[in-house]
């Protein structure tokens, strides 16, 4: 599965007036595309800080002490704010806990929904155009290099092909957009009409005029050459003509027959229209641009038309274009492999520089520059999936080298300070007085360790390249060509889709519908206080989704909501995840709600991940005492005994405990828990836990009875309800 986000060894602390609070202490995780990772922990465990770091909205007093957050080949902790603007909210969006405080109370919902769309629309258009042009240019160049090295005529022909692709690509979008609008209007109208009919039948009709007017507008919008056409369009027009007037009369005299009859006519037409195939606008775009014909040929069915147009496109353009693109991609990949082999040689050569006992500043920086350049040259301009390792290699290496030379200076001054303070301390002790305060030990960075890091980074890169080269034969250029063309199509639509106010409104209303807000047209003009808690949270989700993000961070999205609404919101998030292939980071303190949501769960305590595994691992085979405590402290429907509350409170993170942070509240704690921090023990490939109980020498302790009983009980319930 494609990984979207890597978090490596992230360490964050906060400066406060009382000292440095260590909020996150070296956590690692990754997030795959279309996966939900739940981060569970008490307040103060660092889960929200982690999410804020990913979004780049840490408070001003935070210090990122180390680590990497890699998204799309970039380390989010190191990129400048300008670049972050393109990612925050656009690629990574967040839903906050309290929907009331994340909405502006004095701005209408509609404006809040469309604000970002309008602002981002322009930026996105520019960006997609740049991407589209860059890739098309790269493709063109690679084509010429691969197929027409010394043949200017052929080169010209290839350039023309790319240009043609560009031209009819535009045309196709021009054709497709109105179709989509009409189709959307039809599919919006169907459920609305059904609900109106239902209410008429039940004789409990609220606000009829507004909704009938809306249905009329939607029905008329859906009349389009390809959606509702011909005689059917006429029928819809006739049915809508008098419907508003009829409603007025019906309201007065309580006779709804005419209205419902007309509604049923419209419903019938639209429902039928929604079952039709969608015409292939892509090939239609080519046909209209280059065939010289002004009209699309009249054929019996859409399927036949599609087949005809597709054949026309393939015969005249597409097949040869794909063949050319394929050889271009293969050529470009080959070139990249050649660069990789060179880079491996170069990496091996410069590795020696860092092998020296003591590094020389000048040569080290020179080596870094040469390596960064050499590694970046291996990038294949036609590859749409970015190789994160290549992109982060340069920055990562520079950080380490900087750290090395920075540490030489800092170590010296630290040693000096320590010596001075120690002398002062000893002097006071020698006098027989009690000094106030301890001597802070010198924080010496281990130069050797930094150097090893550098070497291992280079080794990793070499290994990575060697693996790639070895896997050369398994690449499927056919599939990659199709993927590239799809990628170009997607970016082209970004260029064409200019965002105007009315378009933003249409999109906002669509989004509101998608997140389950009824009567969105009316709601669009309301203020946040007119919404209930659940509805507000839906708006917040809609705002987060407005920019089509890849990653959605949900920071306790349901804590402020009650059970039914919570369950609705969770269902909504799950639905959106499936539809949009979202990766979700779900932060919560309540293990109960994540059973349904999470693919994997990370349990955090005192800034560390203490257990990590699939949701089955955590609920059925949990191994860390803290996870046990969390599971057994919540009541379920069969709990009768006193709850196993976790005694005490989380530790003060200004002075984090030496050993396992949970030891003081842990009834299974052993002596070693107070002395040394447990490492992550691997239980299975997907399941890890940091507790000394998993050490081979530790006594075997079973999970508490509450948990085992519950698992057994739930199994029974499952079997029972299954039968």
């Amino acid at each position: 599965m494609e990984n979207k986000l890597h978090v490596k060894n992230l360490t964050i602390s906060f400066r406060t007036s009382n000292g440095k609070v260590q909020a996150v202490r070296g956590i690692d995780f990754d997030l795959a595309k279309g996966e939900t990772l739940a981060i569970v922990g008490e307040s103060g465990s660092g889960k929200s800080v982690t999410s804020k770091a990913i979004l780049g909205i840490l408070a001003g007093n935070s210090i990122v002490e180390g680590g990497e957050i890699i998204y799309d080949g970039k380390d989010l902790l190191k990129i400048p704010e300008d670049e972050f603007h393109k990612i925050r909210g656009d690629k990574i969006a967040m839903i906050f806990q309290d929907p009331m405080s994340s909405l502006n109370p004095i701005i209408k919902i509609g404006k809040q929904l469309t604000e970002a769309m309008l602002l981002k629309g322009k930026a996105r258009q520019k960006e997609s155009r740049a991407t589209f042009n860059a890739y098309l240019k790269a493709l063109n160049e690679a084509m010429i290099k691969a197929l027409a090295k010394d043949d200017p005529a052929k080169a010209k022909a290839l350039t023309k092909k790319c240009k043609d692709f560009d031209t009819f690509e535009y045309k196709h979008l021009d054709l497709e957009t109105p179709y989509h609008n009409a189709y959307q209007a039809a599919s919006d109208a169907v459920p609305e009409i059904k609900s109106i009919l239902f209410e008429i039948e039940k004789n409990a009709f609220t606000d009829p005029m507004e909704r009938i007017k809306q249905v009329k507008k939607l029905a008329l919008d859906s009349i389009n050459e390809w959606v509702v056409f011909g005689a059917k369009a006429g029928a819809v027009r006739v049915a809508t003509e008098t419907i508003v007037n009829d409603t007025k009369l019906a309201k007065k005299y309580g006779k709804w027959e005419t209205v419902s009859k007309n509604l049923e006519i419209i419903l019938g037409v639209l429902e039928e229209a929604l079952t039709f195939d969608m015409p292939n606008f892509f090939s239609m775009g080519y046909y209209l641009t280059f065939s010289g014909e002004k009209e699309i040929p009249k054929l019996a069915s859409v399927a036949e038309l599609n087949a005809y147009l597709r054949k026309y496109l393939d015969d005249n353009f597409m097949l040869s274009f794909i063949a050319d693109a394929k050889s271009a991609i293969a050529y470009s990949a080959e070139a990249s492999y050649k660069e990789m082999l060179e880079a491996v040689i170069c990496l091996k050569k410069y590795r020696e520089v860092f092998e020296a006992e003591k590094l020389d500043k000048k040569t080290a920086y020179e080596a870094y520059q040469a390596l960064a350049k050499e590694v970046m040259e291996t990038v294949d301009p036609l590859n749409t999936v970015k190789d994160t390792m290549v992109y982060t290699f340069g920055t990562g290496l520079k950080t380490e080298v900087d750290k090395y030379f920075g540490a030489i200076v800092k170590n010296a001054s630290e040693t000096k300070r320590y010596a001075k303070q120690k002398a002062e301390y000893d002097r006071i002790v020698a006098k027989g007085k009690t000094p106030n305060g301890e001597v802070v030990p010198a924080s010496i960075t281990d130069l050797e360790l930094v150097r090893t890091n550098i070497l291992s980074q280079i080794d990793r890169m070499i290994e990575h390249f060697e693996n790639l080269v070895a896997a050369k034969s398994s690449r499927d250029f056919e599939a990659e060509t199709i993927a590239l063309i799809d990628f170009l199509k997607a970016n082209a639509s970004g260029i064409v889709n200019k965002v105007t106010k009315s378009m933003a409104k249409a999109k906002a209303i669509k989004l509101m519908k998608e997140v389950g807000i009824s009567n969105p047209r009316k709601r669009y003009n309301q203020y946040p206080f007119e919404f209930s808690g659940g509805m507000r949270q839906r708006i917040v989700i809609a705002i987060a989704l407005a920019a089509d993000p890849d990653i959605l961070i949900c920071d306790e999205p349901t804590t402020a909501l009650d059970v039914t609404i919570q369950s609705q919101i969770l269902e909504l998030i799950n639905k959106l995840k499936a539809e949009r292939q979202l990766s979700i980071i779900f932060i919560t303190h309540d293990l109960g709600v994540v059973a349904n949501m999470a693919d994997r769960i990370a349990v955090m305590y005192a800034g560390k991940i203490v257990e990590y595994g699939t949701s089955e691992d955590i609920f059925y085979r949990s191994a860390h005492p803290y996870t046990w405590a969390l599971l057994s402290s919540m009541p379920d429907l069969d709990t009768n005994e006193k709850l196993d509350a976790i005694p005490g409170t989380p530790p003060n993170m200004i002075y984090p405990p030496v050993g396992d942070a949970f030891a003081a509240r842990n009834k299974y704690a052993m002596q070693i828990d107070f002395e040394r921090q447990p490492p992550m023990f691997k239980i299975t490939d997907s399941h890890y836990a940091a507790t000394w109980l998993l050490h081979p020498d530790a006594p075997k302790i079973d999970p508490p009875k509450t948990i085992t009983d519950r698992i057994a009980r739930m199994k029974e319930r499952r079997v029972e309800e299954h039968e």
Partner: protein, 396 residues
Amino acid sequence: MNNNAETLLKVEHLCQYFGANRAVDDVSFEIKKGEVFGLVGESGCGKTTTGRSIIKLYDITSGNIFFKGIRIGAGIRSYQEEIENAKKNYKEKSANASPEESARMKKELDALIAARKEDIKKARFDQKNCDKEYAKKLVAEVKAKYEKLLANATPEVKKEYKDALRKAKKAKLATQIQMIFQDPIASLDPRMTVREIIAEGLIIRGERDQKVIDEKVYQMLELVGLVREHAGRYPHEFSGGQRQRIGVARAIIMNPELIIADEPVSALDVSIQAQVINLLGDLRHDLGLTILFIAHDLSVVKYFSDRIGVMYFGKMVELATSDELFKNPLHPYTKSLLSAIPLPDPIYEKKRKRIQYNRLAEHDYSVDKPTFREITPGHFVECNDAEYAKYESMVE
């Protein structure tokens, strides 16, 4: 729980309208002494409003609330409506009736209006004067107690008598009902020390002896699992769970008989939630408290309550003991609510299907209006005749 226990709180046809918004609409229930009564429903269903109406934070629109047999809340809207309806009825009928008939009807109408007006007057009086009544009762008790002692009293006894009398005069019935609020941050005054917060009620009730106050505060702090040293601190120095404990201490220092706990654990972490629930459970057993527990987390309510009432848009739709309610839910809304509870089991959860509830689609109340009826002993459901038959057959 003892079924024959005395009824501590009785709510009769409680209505609380805010303009056109019927926040609570005709809700009736009883709470027995010593039990925990859970009130569940989604946000906006009126459960908090019910709690606040009971403690008289709102004047109720209509209905009656009895606490220990004394009417502490009374609304007049239903009486007014009755008068209006009778007038309308009279107008319609008298138009085509004989003069004698008409005169008889007029007489009936006048009698009815007079009776209802009397009721209104009485309700207004009770609403205002229930505390005075209670104080009068207490004063009489104090006087009776000291009557003999006063004959040859030392100055100390006289002082004691005066003190007791003053407190009795100031006593309010409402102090027997205390509330624990949802948000432990917003419900504590940030500028008062914990000592001041906890002791405030005592001082208002007339306690003047600082030593007694301090002793009582310390006692309460220890009861809720805090220590004496905490008395001098300010709320911001405490964690969420500890703040909620302060809220509990503030409530129980008044020695109440009934505690209204309005979502006391919703704002807390799961692990702290368990601590606070355990604390409330312990206090309930030690002090013999009766609790009206308002919450939306059904697992917690199920665990903590003896009986549960389910509310939906201002109406009580189902009421039963907690085991019965979870085993045999009858009302479709209850079923929908139960189907939404997340359980800590991934395989089960992935299969769980939430039942949707749509009031319009589920019931046909166009002709036959629903009422609150008892299906099996102790199990009440809002239904009409057709549904009543259906539910009865479901139980069997």
